[in-house]
């Protein structure tokens, strides 16, 4: 099968004064060209750090181990080995892999016009003069659904609304026709009607440009609607990965099940109380032994779950789960 990006045993640790935070702890997955991968989990589960690791944007106090393999015209580049400030990663960032962030208001520089910032991104990767880059930026803004782009290109970010700014962000991210777009909570701060507009826009652009999308979100509705494959993360590990249908109709991991049950859904009214997951996400400096979900797990087995660490095993074709209830764990692996 064709691959665009393959991640093998990625570990991103932050070495801080308080201790080591294992933000991402041994995850493996792949992204196929033109497909949409959903990454779902609560805050602090390592979703965003995974995305930032792919672009090597995790900062000087982080340590990235494992392999991040980018397949490009028959050659394979291991992003982990690249210098985070070198030319090679810079030719990948924005060109091969682009990213859009949660808060468009915080991602744009307030002292430059939106146009200047998009033009900068274009001129960095393409051999265009300023005039051609401006034309191209206007065209991109039009594709992203910004009305009257030839006027709005000279406006500053504060003159844009949140939804419009996210469109401008998408225009910038698409400026070099990336093969992979990482969308980190792209609609979280937007109103539902604007969220709907942005999601439809992303779907349309994906059809047009054929890029792969890695959709990071905690919103299960967005996952159900946008993605084909889903990874569920908890405390830096993948607890379950499967097709979107399998995740929603046949979830195996107790965490996935609990997550699906605990969210009030439109159209499915739960009488009385919701099934809440007990407890809170543990302190990252002091992770539980064994399976890291065991203190909150409704199917916790004493003497097993708090001792043995489960591995991600394939229990069905394409459906992997990391739980001791499924499949036997090989000893001392």
């Amino acid at each position: 099968m064709d691959k665009l990006l393959e991640i093998k045993d990625l570990r991103t640790y932050f070495v801080l004064d308080e201790g080591i935070v294992k933000a991402v702890d041994g995850i493996s997955f792949e992204v196929k060209p033109g497909k949409t991968l959903g990454v779902v989990g609560e805050s602090g589960c390592g979703k965003s750090v995974t995305a930032l690791s792919i672009l090597k944007l995790t900062g000087p106090r982080s340590k990235i181990q494992g392999e991040i393999l980018l397949y490009r015209d028959g050659e394979v580049i291991d992003i982990v080995k690249l210098d985070p400030k070198g030319d090679e990663i810079r030719s990948i960032r924005g060109k091969e892999i682009s990213m859009i962030f949660q808060e468009p208001g915080a991602s744009f520089s307030p002292v430059h016009t939106v146009g200047e910032q998009i033009i900068e991104a274009i001129m960095l990767h393409q051999k265009l003069d300023k005039k051609a880059a401006r034309e191209s930026a206007i065209e991109l803004m039009r594709i992203a659904g910004i009305p009257r782009p030839e006027l709005r290109i000279d406006e500053y970010p504060h003159q844009f609304s949140g939804g419009m700014l996210q469109r401008a962000m998408i225009a910038m991210a698409l400026s070099c026709r990336p093969r992979l777009l990482i969308a980190d909570e792209p609609t979280t701060n937007l109103d539902v009607t604007i969220q709907a507009q942005i999601l439809e826009l992303l779907k349309e652009l994906q059809r047009q440009f054929g890029m792969a999308v890695m959709m990071i979100t905690h919103n299960l509705g967005v996952i159900a609607e946008m993605t084909e494959e889903v990874i569920v993360m908890y405390l830096g590990k993948i607890v379950e990965s499967a097709s979107v249908e399998e995740i929603f109709y046949n979830p195996l991991h107790p965490y996935t099940k609990a997550l699906l049950e605990s969210v009030p859904k439109v159209g499915k009214r739960v009488k009385g109380r919701l099934k809440a997951i007990k407890g809170i996400v543990p302190d990252p400096y002091n992770l539980p032994t064994g399976c890291s979900f065991h203190p909150r797990c409704p199917e916790f087995i004493k003497g097993i779950c708090d001792v043995r660490v489960p591995n991600l095993v394939e229990v069905k074709p394409g459906h992997k789960v990391s739980c001791l209830l499924y499949g036997e764990v090989k000893k001392d692996e």
Partner: protein, 336 residues
């Protein structure tokens, strides 16, 4: 049917926009523009809408955190009818204890320099209800009720997680045995697995203390779960108000229909065609003519551009502000 606890009549809150050294008024933002509704005792009324539609301002005007421009807020307590909107600030102090608020962001709504004991105990102290050892006991009791351990009383808010902080905030709101609690997006800032815990807590407390909630939220899933009736706001006005099931299954206002269809459904097999609204929420200082929703409405006719529809009862307590409410057949979400 329960008694009516809170009645809001023709409530208005306008904010002036001033310019220049002499603060000359150049325009008015009609944040809340002539809204009326009531809440029964023990009921939860949801207030939904997009950001900037006036949900939070409505909550704050009811509490008199803002003084209303016009209108009445009548609280029916112990056989008395108290018009909160008309009280002087001195009289207000005695009435405030009946109405409390839980805020959206538990990281901003708790004073980082106060211990949990001081935060929860302050309303009791200020109102001269308890002090010293008795205060400690009351605070411990409140903490147990919201599912916190009283041993943590001496700690500061930074030592607590988001969900626990929201519990502190709820305990503070409950300290004076209020009748009405205004919950302004109480779970929006929390993680999904924690949201359910806090929603369950709010439901349990409502049963235990017969609380009445005004529940402000933009999350329709949460609103559907917790609310008995729902009011939909758009640019400072209520456009539709109905029982929760009815509003979700048979919306009568095109804006409600669009809101419902915009929510991503957590079901990969439900790939329905969604109604996309063009454009964005209009500026409240310069709203469109006629029906405020007409520039974005898929069903708008000439009449909508000129005449503003009134909020009328189309039967069974279902209020709609749309000229064509009876003619349009709009799509809701079947509730199973």
């Amino acid at each position: 049917m329960n008694n009516i606890l809170l009645e809001v009549k023709n409530l208005k809150k306008y904010f002036p926009i001033t310019k220049g050294f002499f603060r000359k008024q150049v325009a008015t933002v009609k944040a809340v523009d002539d809204i009326s509704f009531f809440i029964r005792e023990g009921e939860t009324l949801g207030l939904v809408g997009e950001s900037g539609c006036g949900k939070t301002t409505t909550g704050k005007v009811i509490l008199r955190a803002y003084d209303p421009t016009d209108g009445d807020v009548i609280l029916h307590i112990d056989g008395l009818d108290i018009n909160v909107a008309k009280l002087s600030s001195k009289e207000l102090k005695n009435v405030r204890r009946y109405m409390q608020m839980v805020f959206q962001d538990p990281f901003k709504s708790l004073n980082p320099r106060m211990t949990v004991r001081d935060i929860i105990g302050e309303p009791l102290l200020v109102n001269g209800i308890a002090k010293g050892k008795e205060l400690d006991d009351r605070v411990a009791d409140l903490m147990r009720k919201v599912g916190l351990r009283p041993e943590y009383m001496k700690r500061y808010p930074h030592a607590f997680s988001g969900g626990q902080r929201q519990r502190i905030s709820i305990a503070r709101a409950l300290a004076l045995n209020p009748k009405l609690v205004i919950c302004d997006e109480p779970v929006s800032a929390l993680d999904v697995s924690i949201q359910a815990q806090v929603l369950n807590l709010l439901k349990d407390l409502q049963e235990e203390f017969r609380l009445t909630y005004l529940f402000i939220s933009h999350d329709l899933g949460v609103v559907e779960h917790i609310c008995d009736r729902v009011a939909v706001m758009y640019v400072g006005k209520i456009v539709e108000l109905a029982k929760t099931e009815e509003l979700f299954e048979k919306p009568k206002h095109p804006y409600t229909e669009a809101l419902l269809s915009a929510v991503p459904k957590p079901d990969p097999r439900m790939k329905t065609k969604r109604i996309l609204l063009v454009g964005e929420v209009p500026d409240a200082s310069n709203p469109p003519s006629g029906c405020y929703f007409h520039p974005r409405c898929n069903y708008a006719k000439d009449l909508c551009k000129e005449v503003r529809p009134e909020l009328i009862d189309i039967g069974n307590g279902h209020l709609v502000a749309c000229h064509f409410a009876k003619e349009l057949s709009l799509k809701g979400i079947p509730i199973t």
